[in-house]
Amino acid sequence: MSFSWAKPYEPKHPVMKWVDERLPLPRLVYGAIGGGYPVPRNLNYFWNFGVLAGIFLTVQIVTGIVLAMHYTASTDGAFNSVNQLIMRDVNAGWLLRYAHMNGASFFFIVTYIHIFRGLYYGSYKAPRELVWMLGLVIYFLMMATAFMGYVLPWGQMSYWGAQVITGFFSAFPIVGEPIRIWLLGGYAPDQAALTRFFSLHYLLPFVIAGVVILHIWALHIPGSSNPTGVDVKDEKDTLPFHPFYTAKDGWFAAAFLLIYCLVTFYAPNYLGHSDNYIPANPLATPAEIVPEWYFWPFYAILRSFTFDFILPAKLWGVLAMFSSILLLFFLPWLDKSPVRSGSYRPVFKRFFWLLVVDVIVLGWAGGGAPTPFRNAIGQISAAYYFLHFLVILPLVSRFEVPLPLPNSISESVLHGEAAEAAPVGAGKTRGGSIATASAH
């Protein structure tokens, strides 16, 4: 698809030849994830997480479809269908459910690593802007799916989580409350909300799968990025996806699934909240309402706005929380540095790691009871989050002097030849000339 030296599909078996002439599906697969897709030869292990995300999407869909065969989407029956029927009576139902519960968490772990890899190596930059944006669409759909899935067991956190999250809409003046009631099908989460959440929870993973196809399609036009961020120049720079990256992804996936299985089998409830084993009770608010861990950073941003400055604090919180994801769509235009990889951007690199720490601190701030200290830390780290993307990144990309880039991928693999090969002084000029230097 992408490079002139990509090996075309040559069916050997007459049956495959026959099929290929009529429906070139084998050709498509061969060109997408087979020997016909040339990939930069220098990818590191952070490039394994895209495939892993696909694996976890599959795990979620397969376990989810079987769980749906036994689940009852009714406010009276949901809790028991999960905790009695599935967990006790269905053959290996406990395994399906724990695999699905923890599969969601690991899907997010993998996706977060995938996203931060993209942030560090500048994978959002031209010509991969649409790959990045489609990825964000997937992430957004994942959050919606995960939230609705968490409501389905109809435990205390399910109920009150649904209450809080749909409550976001009521922060908007005038239209907010009618929208909230319309979305829930009532004044509070009840049967109508549960049934539609179930319906959408079943639908959205397939929408995700569809957007994943677009994400991969858009990726295969320019081809995968790589740790140097330097464009692929000739065949020497690449290796066919199969067998090289299928082998690398294969063993790494097995190793990562090992961690997932250790949690699923030996600490299945570690990542969950104990209150969700109490049946939903609209009359008893839990001591503290916290979302699942993968939402903690956003929850911290939401809670950090405590002062009614012109607008009500709640509206500020909701706007900021949505903006915190929305701004990522503009990243390709906020960061104008032509150097993709953070490895060649000394200033950017420091701020990147500060962002990683900041998001972890935000998670800590959002995951616990709101004490004054936790709130203050949450507010500082929320402010840094916005400053990082909207102020620091544009400024850094303007003033930073990047390090000299290697001339080509294959040179960079040659253990240090890269720096020697770079034209003297190329690193001292502004970004623009670097891009030219690396393009020619």
């Binding site: 090289f244 294969g250 090992l258």
Partner: protein, 307 residues
């Protein structure tokens, strides 16, 4: 344009957060939050070690039977066990005849209808029934317990942070309110009908001490029934009710982990094998020759790139 708007949005959000931070800090300095008795005197659960702990843990069936005995003779007076059926007791080592007897002798009967008239009535429980609840409904339960609702115990060790050690600590944690607490928080005296228990979130629990004297239950296996022993046994039993598949989970987990370990090792060896030639192909130019490496190092130092 995007960057100008972004710049402004970023500054506005950061500014409002700064105002929130300052107002929050100012509020806390002018009127610091009052210390709470439930924060200062609350205790984390006591350690409890059960046979089911750990990746290789298995249930101690004799202990589960003792725990079941405590549940049926003490706890079941108020607490339901809605998700568990009599038939499941087979996993505890009871045989079919024993289970049938336990079910039909159970102190509460199962709601049913009179087969002749269709009127509401009750019948003796069968092994296929779940444990019938001691109260007909929540209102009846509250009416009998000073408006407190005894929670269902089926999932209690998963539904409380701290799990089995929490249950054990609550059961053995009843005590007189410390004088120090009353001195520091004169308003925090345990109200009437509540009972001081430092392992409970707000220190005052509606449940009266259920296990009070040694020998309250006469164990069928002759184990001395101290309060501590009974609390441990019932906690172990409630681990089983919450997670009856724990043993198969541990066993299946072990085989899955072994399978994946083997898969990882073979996968890694295959990966090394496949990449060997690819790596060699890159090295044809001699980059790894010591001479070239030294040259490259010198070049790096000269350009100030060496890390």
């Amino acid at each position: 344009m995007v960057r100008v708007i972004g710049f402004l949005v970023g500054l506005v959000f950061a500014g409002v957060l700064l105002i929130s931070l300052i107002s929050g800090v100012a509020t806390n300095l002018s009127s610091p939050p009052a210390p709470l008795a439930s924060e200062e005197f609350h205790k984390s659960p006591k350690p409890l070690h059960l046979a089911s702990d750990g990746p290789f843990g298995k249930f101690d069936r004799r202990q589960l039977q003792r725990g079941f005995q405590v549940y049926s003779e003490v706890c079941s007076a108020c607490h339901s066990l809605k998700l568990v059926s009599f038939g499941e007791l087979k996993q505890l080592g009871y045989n079919d005849a024993e289970i049938k007897k336990i079910a039909s002798d159970w102190k509460t009967q199962v709601p049913s209808i009179n087969p002749d008239t269709g009127e509401a009535s009750t019948r003796k429980a069968l092994p296929s029934d779940n444990f019938p609840s001691p109260f007909a409904n929540e209102t009846a339960a509250r009416a009998a317990n000073n408006n407190a609702l005894p929670p269902d115990l089926s999932l209690i060790t998963k539904a409380r942070e701290g799990g089995a050690p929490y249950v054990y600590s609550i059961l053995t944690g009843f005590q007189a309110q410390p004088a120090e607490l009353l001195k520091k928080f004169p308003d925090a005296k345990t109200p009437q009908n509540l009972h001081y228990n430092p392992y409970f979130a707000n220190l005052n629990i509606a449940m009266p001490p259920p296990l009070t004297t040694a020998g309250q239950v006469t164990y069928a296996d002759g184990t001395p029934a101290t309060v501590d022993q009974m609390a441990k046994d019932v906690a172990a039993f409630l681990v089983w009710t919450a997670e009856p598949n724990l043993e198969s989970r541990h066993a299946v987990g072990l085989s899955v982990v072994i399978f994946l370990l083997i898969g990882t090792v073979f996968g890694y060896l295959a990966y090394r094998q496949i990449w060997q030639d690819a790596k060699r192909a890159v090295r044809v130019t001699g980059a790894l020759e010591p001479e070239n490496q030294a040259k490259s190092r010198r070049a790096k130092v000269k350009q100030g790139v060496a890390g």
